[in-house]
Symmetry: C2
Subunit: 328 residues, 2 copies
């Protein structure tokens, strides 16, 4: 029989930067282990300081190559870097992701870099909830910058991007026609738009179009106006990319803007509010379903609904009356 | 000032097949109107009989053209048809969907067809929760068959497909290499695999590959084995498609299989359990947040967490203790 894992020991090993403990704790999150909650409670106070950078964009836009170069740049600045790769696990996503992972192996010998893939589905409390926890674990391990890379398709993945403080939206000239359609999305999500593969045909037109779109939008006084940074990358070596210094500058500029305007506090409050809501829902559901378990009530409720004798709204009312205090 | 909408009147108009009332009720769902809950409670007993057919597959696979032909076929059988189109609203999805919508205008003069688009995001209780409600409304209006079409990317959209009784996964020969990767997904999702554009190069190899994959998989005695149906469609006219009769036959065969094996009851139980869980979460969250609202407590909690004086897990515990009866 397995012993109950020692939460104290595991968390202390995490705080000392132990990679195996980090991996194990992330697996706890992914498996929905009962111990996760207590571990996260202890980890939480050690978090909240890292810069969280999101990278999103369609498949093939070059997100992983950019992530690779960003890691190198942050390492040159002597910053420890964590990376969370959210792998789409749709049956239609195909097998393109192994290549991305191989690209990031440049950093596999570097103790200052920790990279972890997560599947985009299969989490009881949802992908965002799990991603919050994984980012916090990696931060508590010691990462000063955490990069979260995700394909921006589907509500869950877009929610993940909302965890980031600075969000890079990677587009390519081939997407030209789509940019009109994504206007609203750009404004909502991107702090920096990276026009990757800027050596391709149509890049100049695309760049003009992006800048026109941005200048036509209205921003409030003091509000951050998304920047467009063209990049060209032909490989994984330092000399293989153009525009990376400009991109790093833009990230730093956005960070300085957040500090200066206190916007970082607002972002952090919003993130905490969102995270709090997710934890609430999760814990509430566990509690109620635990209460129903073994009583046979849940099965009876479902049978009655299927047979048309009852409806889910009335059932929920009845159960809530049993469990919720209406007055304190 | 707007009067409170008359739920009784609206629901009665729905039951009489009124299209404007149907549209209005769906808008209530989308807007998260308070009245939705009571309306859905009344609608619920009139639902549960329609065949729900899901159509999913990558963009450009030809889902909408197939939907168009399926509508026509069901109409030839004198069945009333509802269609729910879940439009991906990712900023990266581009503007390809207008074309799909135009394709379905063939049926705009037919009183026996009701078509509604839904955005894939922005629902408080989540996309699945909203889709359940929308399907039920369309069914209560009188639809005997409800087709749900969705791009199968992202957890939310995959969840939507799990609402269907019969699921068509549309693939094209061009996806050849991806099929290996989607093996697990095929088995999990598809009851019928439609190999569309079966006149393209590589179609035969793709067909062989799909059949090999399926015959290598193990199924339990009496379990449905996914069928592969090749189709070729060159336009929206009845003569413009090959394979549609075989597809309709396969759908009917699957339906007969569900009836014969009582699998339909199991599917309906699973759907109700899922729906019940979603409603629970939603109602619980509303209740708790309503309790916190105006007390200033939520804001204080968030501030303390951001400042590192508290963590979300402890806050959730504290609030739950206030609201949840631990013993009946």
């Amino acid at each position: 029989m397995n012993k109950r894992p020692d939460i104290d020991q595991m968390v202390n090993r995490l705080f000392s930067g132990d990679r195996r403990a980090t991996a194990r704790l992330i697996t706890w999150v992914e498996d929905g282990m009962e111990e996760t909650r207590e571990a996260m409670r202890r980890i939480y106070p050690r978090t909240g300081k890292a810069k969280i950078i999101g990278i999103t964009g369609a498949g093939g836009a070059g997100k992983s190559t950019l992530t690779d170069h960003l890691i190198r740049k942050f390492r040159e600045q002597d910053k420890t870097v964590g990376v969370v790769l959210v792998d789409p696990s749709s049956p239609f996503s195909g097998g393109a992701f192994l290549g991305d992972r191989i690209r990031l192996q440049n950093h596999s010998q570097d103790d200052g870099v920790y990279i972890r893939s997560m599947a985009s589905r299969g989490y009881l409390g949802g992908l965002s909830r799990a991603t919050y926890d994984v980012i916090r674990i990696i931060e508590a391990m010691g990462a000063e910058v955490v990069i979260v890379e995700t394909l921006g398709a589907g509500q869950d993945e877009i929610d993940v991007i909302h965890i980031a403080h600075t969000c890079l939206l990677v587009v390519t000239p081939g997407m030209g026609d789509d940019i009109q359609a994504m206007k609203a999305g750009i404004m909502e999500i991107a702090t920096i738009i990276v026009l990757n593969k800027a050596d391709l045909e149509g890049a100049n037109a695309c760049l003009r179009h992006l800048n026109t779109t941005l200048s036509a939008a209205s921003f409030e006084e003091g509000e951050w106006v998304p920047k467009v940074i063209p990049t060209v990358s032909v490989g994984g070596k330092p000399q293989d990319i153009q525009g990376i210094d400009e991109l790093i500058s833009a990230i730093q500029e956005h960070h300085a803007h957040l500090q200066k305007t206190d916007a970082i506090d607002q972002i952090k409050s919003e993130r905490v509010e969102h995270e709090l809501g997710l934890i609430f829902k999760d814990e509430l559901q566990k509690l109620i379903f635990k209460g129903l378990k073994g009583t046979g009530r849940k099965k009876r409720y479902i049978e009655n609904i299927v047979k048309g004798k009852d409806d889910p709204y009335s059932v929920v009312d009845e159960v809530l009356k049993t469990y919720i205090k209406t007055k304190e």
